[in-house]
């Protein structure tokens, strides 16, 4: 592991990938590892103590999204919650119809699940987005057929940060009596997330994106929504998800939700200012850079910028040596040969997509961090451009 040989400070700018567990959250979790370690299904005091903790967390989470506690189903994370929502509805309503609607810019947890269902015979419409990564509710409306049983459109886009018009899509779904799922993994704690305002029947959230522990998430399931469980076994989570509850994880998720909700107004404002400083700093000092995603309807912590003529991974490696952690939609970091499907859906040319740089801010970031990035990034880009085939 190469260390940060050039680093004068450590600046983590990848909060959309994951966040550190905050101290209050870890403190809330700690008693549940060794002291209050019971299995919530046990009827003895150890079990009842664990049950109480799980129920309290369920209330904290429900309250953060305007739901009832019984509507919260704990899962192992956002990915599993997305799978449960999509497969669960498709399998339970397959006699009603076999058409599903989603978008081209969903997270892989959603996209690959729809692709799997498509292989099994479901028809899937992937609605496009505009150049800002925004979905037009009218495209969703037009995609609806008599066979449509599920619409899944995310809330805050994880790569380019664009906030989708879920309220309008929710209305359309309701009018047509179609189940509506939204992935709110990135928006929770950053912008208001309310299941009634959004008009969703199903909503995915994940703990490790909001300073809670990894390995916990939840699916909101509106009362009366029928979904087929995907993990069967013992009687847990209203029979919708079997498996011994991850009690400390759930407790941590609850506390993280509570804190996120409480601090959101101020913290989001702070992040937005820092982010704008970062975006404007880059756009103003480095030529041939463009902002990806919507300029205003955008998650407060997301900056996604394409640096033309250079490749994203090369920037990331250089930044890493300076102690800066970021991500990219380049093929080299996507694990496939193609750059980010999201940038391509936005019709960004391949070369520009390969040079995308996503910086997602969080609690620890300060103005000094941003200024450090603004100092370090231009010479890196200059150096890489000097060796690039393109641009000069």
């Amino acid at each position: 592991m190469n260390t940060h040989s050039n680093a004068r400070r450590l600046v983590y700018l990848d909060h959309s990938a994951t966040t550190p567990v905050r101290a209050e959250v870890l403190a809330a979790m700690l008693p549940y590892f060794a002291d209050k370690f019971g299995n919530p299904s046990s009827i003895h005091s150890w079990g009842r103590e664990a049950r109480v903790a799980v129920d309290a967390a369920r209330e904290q989470i429900a309250s953060a999204i305007g739901a009832n506690p019984q509507e919260i189903i704990f899962t192992s994370g956002g990915t599993e919650a997305d799978n449960l929502a999509i497969r669960g509805v498709a399998q339970s309503l397959k006699d009603k119809g076999n058409h599903l609607i989603t978008s081209q810019i969903e997270h892989h947890a959603v996209l690959n699940t729809f692709q799997d269902l498509a292989k099994q015979g479901f028809k899937v419409t992937y609605v496009p987005c505009d150049e800002y990564g925004m979905i037009d509710p009218d495209d969703v409306r037009k995609a609806i057929t008599d066979e449509t049983i599920l619409i899944s459109i995310m809330h805050g886009q994880n790569e380019v940060g664009t906030i989708q018009p879920v309220e309008e899509i929710g209305k359309i779904a309701r009018e047509r009596n179609i189940i509506f799922h939204s992935d709110a993994v990135q928006s929770l704690g950053k912008i208001p997330v309310n299941v009634d305002a959004m008009g969703v029947d199903l909503l995915t959230i994940s703990s490790h994106k909001i300073y809670g522990p990894k390995g916990v998430g939840a699916l909101y399931v509106r009362k009366g929504t029928k979904i087929k469980p995907q993990v069967t076994g013992g009687i847990h989570e209203r029979r919708l998800r079997a498996g011994t509850e991850n009690v400390p994880g759930i407790v941590g998720f609850g506390e993280a939700c509570r804190l996120a909700q409480q601090e959101m107004p101020e913290e989001s404002k702070r992040l937005r200012e820092l982010r704008d400083r970062l975006i404007n700093g880059i756009l103003n000092t480095i030529p041939d850079t463009v902002l990806n995603g919507h300029p205003e309807k955008r998650l407060p912590h997301n900056a996604n910028i394409s640096v033309k003529y250079v490749e994203g991974e090369a920037i990331l490696l250089n930044l890493d040596l300076f102690g800066i952690g970021a991500s990219s939609g380049s093929a080299c970091t996507s694990g496939s040969l193609e750059p980010s499907h999201v940038l391509l859906a936005m019709k960004i040319p391949h070369e520009t997509a390969h040079g995308s740089l996503r910086m997602t801010l969080g609690r620890s970031n300060t103005k000094e961090d941003i200024d450090y990035v603004l100092e370090v990034l231009p010479p890196i880009v200059e150096k890489l451009r000097a060796m690039s085939v393109f641009g000069n």
Binding site: Y309, G312, L321, C332, E351, M387
Partner: protein, 133 residues
């Protein structure tokens, strides 16, 4: 992810640039895939007297470009044609598995530059099968 040798060539690449009026030019890769390399060479007495590269690509692409220029500089054209992408990866003490495919094109670019030199000068190329392996 990358070993120290790769990181060294990535951070301190050798022979970056473009030779003016080169004797041969090799351009490989594809912006769609995210890696494009351009190799320019100067040939004297059947040897690669000078070589420079320009690369748009990831860490592995830049490191392999740098490494290949070191490997072939001063070599005869025949010797240079014998250097394969595998030789380059080995000289770098290995690349991550997912990088073996897309970014490891540097030897191809050198071969193409030599081919270009043969075509431009009309000189006979000894072993066609050496060009691309």
């Amino acid at each position: 992810m990358y070993n120290e040798k790769v990181m060294d060539h990535f951070m301190n690449p050798r022979n970056v640039g473009e030779i003016e009026n080169p004797d041969g030019v090799g351009l490989v890769g594809n912006p769609v895939c995210g890696d494009v390399m351009k190799i320019t060479i100067k040939v004297k007495d059947g040897r690669i007297e000078d070589i420079k590269f320009k690369t748009f690509g990831c860490g592995a692409a830049i490191a392999t470009s740098s490494m290949v220029t070191e490997l072939v500089k001063g070599k005869t054209l025949d010797e240079a044609l014998e250097i394969s992408n595998k030789t380059v990866a080995e000289a770098l003490e290995g690349l991550p598995p997912q990088k073996m495919h897309c970014s490891n094109l540097a030897a191809d670019a050198v071969h193409m530059a030599i081919k270009d030199y043969y075509e431009k000068t009309g000189k006979v190329q000894v072993a066609e099968e050496g060009i691309h392996e």
